[in-house]
Symmetry: C2
Subunit: 207 residues, 2 copies
């Protein structure tokens, strides 16, 4: 008769976490990785040269400016940034390969990056982290003590703009209490694995 049916063989899922600067994305992702240490992350493509013992495909994917541009044109780069004359981008294909091996991937992406991820991989899950209020965000940014007032103001202005784009996301979580936020993000990851459409045809295994 029928064999035992499980979700074990399913592909991994891609989860992106976005939100304004200071909202706590990095900490949330760090906490989730403690719970799921096998969760994959993105290795950036960069146009800068390798330093010391840095290895291609481990620390970065090292590519020439021409190659980087080509990857951008091909839609392979989900988001990119420039820093002291070098480009850093998030490539799409390695994420797909990880999920095909059954690994989940958790990404810290800009809002544009999350939208590009969803456009390229419709099954990806996008999570937007909101602060409890703009005052709380301001206090957190000031509390860091690493940025002057003008920069804080610029970040707050950008946060306002970014928050208006939250409606493009699958999920929204207000980061008030960290443990509560982590619990919610973890719940989203568990629940998404149970969505029927990800197991289409599972019922036929019982006949």
């Amino acid at each position: 008769m029928s064999e035992t049916v499980s979700f074990e063989s399913m592909h991994g899922l891609m989860f992106s976490v976005s939100g304004p600067s200071g909202v706590g994305k990095g900490t949330i992702i760090k906490e989730i990785k403690k719970i799921y240490p096998d969760c994959g992350h993105s290795i950036s493509v960069t146009t800068r040269r390798p330093r010391g013992t840095e290895k291609d495909g481990v620390d970065y994917y090292f590519r020439s400016a021409t190659e980087f541009e080509k990857l951008c044109i091909e839609g392979e780069i989900l988001e990119f940034d420039e820093y002291v004359g070098n480009f850093y981008g998030t490539p799409a294909t390695p994420l797909l390969k990880m999920t095909e091996c059954g690994r989940d991937v958790l990404l810290d992406l800009t809002i544009a990056g999350s939208m590009a991820l969803k456009k390229k991989f419709s099954q990806a899950v996008t999570i937007f982290i909101l602060p409890p209020s703009l005052e709380v965000l301001e206090n957190r940014l000031v509390g860091r003590g690493t940025e002057d007032r003008e920069l804080v103001n610029r970040r707050l202005e950008k946060a306002r703009e970014e928050i208006l784009n939250a409606n493009g996301f699958d999920y929204v979580v207000i980061n008030d209490e960290l443990s509560d936020t982590v619990r919610k993000v973890e719940a989203i990851m568990i629940a998404e694995k149970c969505r029927y459409f990800r197991h289409s045809g599972i019922e036929k295994k019982f006949i």
Copy 2:
């Protein structure tokens, strides 16, 4: 400036749990209710007369056969069953009222009941519980020791038919290890509350 934004004021959600006889729905719901004792449940409408201290609207909604029929025709009854000449049905409106007061509702429904719930309330969340295999289901049914072999066979035959309808559900959970299943159902409940479409316009509260 902006006030603190939270999900506190949101409506409750309706969750239905369905699955074949013997799959463990009752136990799962009991465990979830331990975690969320405030979670509401359905009070059935019945055509039988009240017994002893039974109160209308507390133990059952007591209605005449004519009234019950009228409720069915109006689409108010999500599912019903007959037992020793009396009808027992799940009414829709009390569920809506509970969620409007901010209470979540967790329902043990037949498959037809879950489909009717979703049709009436598109925001309801439907969960189908699968056994790890038909053998496991058979063992559980036999293990109960309350049903003869013929009844077990009929239940298994019905389970096969029912499982084929799992594709109409939002979520599917394989009930192998109870604690794992409860964790998944709880995750679904937490995650669904974070879905962006349930907080449409939340981003505007930050401007």
